[in-house]
Structures are given as structure tokens and as C-alpha cells.
Symmetry: C2
Subunit: 144 residues, 2 copies
């Protein structure tokens, strides 16, 4: 069994929900797709494979996949939301206070996806990145 199927099953089990053929089909369809797809496109792809699944079900399960950390959403300004399979990693970026030097590490999936979009726009295949945000933290602002 594919690792993504297993992870989705675990997530479903943990939430005391039920594992269905549709859920298996949706996670498989998303994870065997390279591009960012809309719900409708994914449903069409499934239909083409003979897996006719209601659009509402696709919507519902893509949302679940996002919750499970197996998909990510893009609201890029187009008409509909797009989804992509997502592999979590432990990468993080930095937010540094210029006054006290305190550093916050954070991970933001919107940032990650935007970076990928930017690289794609310039025809680069992304291999890594570094980002540092500089500012004044809350505590330093109130004590001045």
C-alpha cells in the first residue's frame, strides 16, 4: 500500500471516521497527479478511470486531505481553489527582532507554495531557499 494511503487511513481512523472506496480513490488520484488540480478536474480524472465520484464528495475529501496534512490549497486568484499533494517537512523560516535579537522559527505552507510558484514562473526547479524577516517584536515595541 502507498504511504499516502496509509497516512490518510491513519488520519481517518484517528478521527473515528470511516474508510471508504471514495476516500481511497481521491487520495490516490491526487497523489498520482503532478499539477495543481481543481476539484472538478480531479473528479473528471476519476471519472475517466471509471471511478464516478460525486463532486461534493471530492470537495469534502480534499478538505479532509488538507486537514490530514496530505494536500495543500492554492487560492491563487483564479476562479476556483486548486489542490496539490503535500509532503510535510521540517523546514522553517526565521523572523528576527532587530532590537533584541530574539528569533522565531516558523513554517508557513502558503509561503512555501508561493515560492514554488515564483520559481516555476521563472522556469526554475526549486531546490531550497532561505528567508529572513526582520522586525521589531511586540515586547520591544511596548518597552520603548
Amino acid at each position: 500500500m502507498q504511504h499516502y494511503t496509509r497516512r490518510f487511513q491513519d488520519f481517518i481512523a484517528e478521527k473515528r471516521m470511516k474508510w471508504t472506496q471514495q476516500r481511497e480513490a481521491v487520495v490516490h488520484a491526487l497523489w498520482t497527479t503532478e499539477e495543481h488540480v481543481t476539484c472538478e478536474e480531479l473528479a473528471a480524472r476519476l471519472a475517466a478511470q471509471g471511478r464516478r465520484i460525486g463532486l461534493a464528495t471530492v470537495y469534502r475529501n480534499l478538505r479532509l486531505l488538507v486537514d490530514a496534512g496530505l494536500a495543500r490549497e492554492f487560492h491563487s486568484g483564479g476562479a476556483s481553489v486548486r489542490y496539490e499533494r503535500y509532503i510535510e517537512d521540517d523546514h522553517h523560516d526565521h523572523l528576527i527582532c532587530e532590537r533584541c535579537g530574539n528569533t522565531v522559527e516558523f513554517l508557513d505552507e502558503k509561503l512555501e507554495s508561493l515560492q514554488e510558484e515564483l520559481a516555476r514562473r521563472h522556469d526554475f526547479r526549486l531546490t531550497g531557499h532561505k528567508m529572513y524577516l526582520y522586525g521589531i517584536c511586540n515586547r520591544c515595541r511596548s518597552s520603548s
Copy 2:
């Protein structure tokens, strides 16, 4: 006259469009608002000031303001798009090819706004940032 009004007027004139009371009201309302607003919120704000302006007109003019470089859009996942006044600057980020060292400088308003959002989330007042994306450029990919 406020600089934003002037810039919007210039933009409108350049496009050979017409300057209207509504356009003036919308640019003023957006530029005297700190938060990110939806079209509906902005229309409500205008109505509260006695400037009753059709929702469609607000939509149309906010889009114009984005084109004019005086506003920016946020598709942050919520129900509706939010707008914020925007001051362009010449800041840019970097995309670097790990193989040939070629560097592309770019500026992306979605990235800028996301960075602001991240800083806000951690209660920082943003003063600056550095971002470097690393990847393999198109030319290096095809010549290997």
C-alpha cells in the same frame, strides 16, 4: 490633494477614462483604512459616510486600483477577496541557479503581503527581509 488621489487620477487620464466622484470616494476610502477590507466592507464604510455607491462600482474600481498599483488583493482562503492600499517600492528578491550561478531578481506582491501577514501573526512590526530561492534554471536543466 492627496498623493494617492493624484496618482489614481493620472492613471485614469492615461487610460482615457473618466474621473468620477465614485472613483475619488473609493480611492479615498481605501487609503484611509488600515485593515484589509472586502468590497462589501468598503461599500458599507462609504455608505456610513453618506456616500452610497453601488457594490458593482466598488468592485470595478478596486480592480482598477490594483491595476494602477495603488491597491493589492489578498486571496487568503476566506470567502471573499480582501483589498489593501499599496505603496510600490523597488525592493526585490533573488532566485539563484545552483548550477550556473545566474541570478534573477524579482518582486512579487503576493510574497510581500504574505510576509507582512506572517510578521503580524507573530506580533512583529516588519522592517525588512531577505529572501533567496535556490534552484536549477531552465538552461541548466536542458543541458544535462
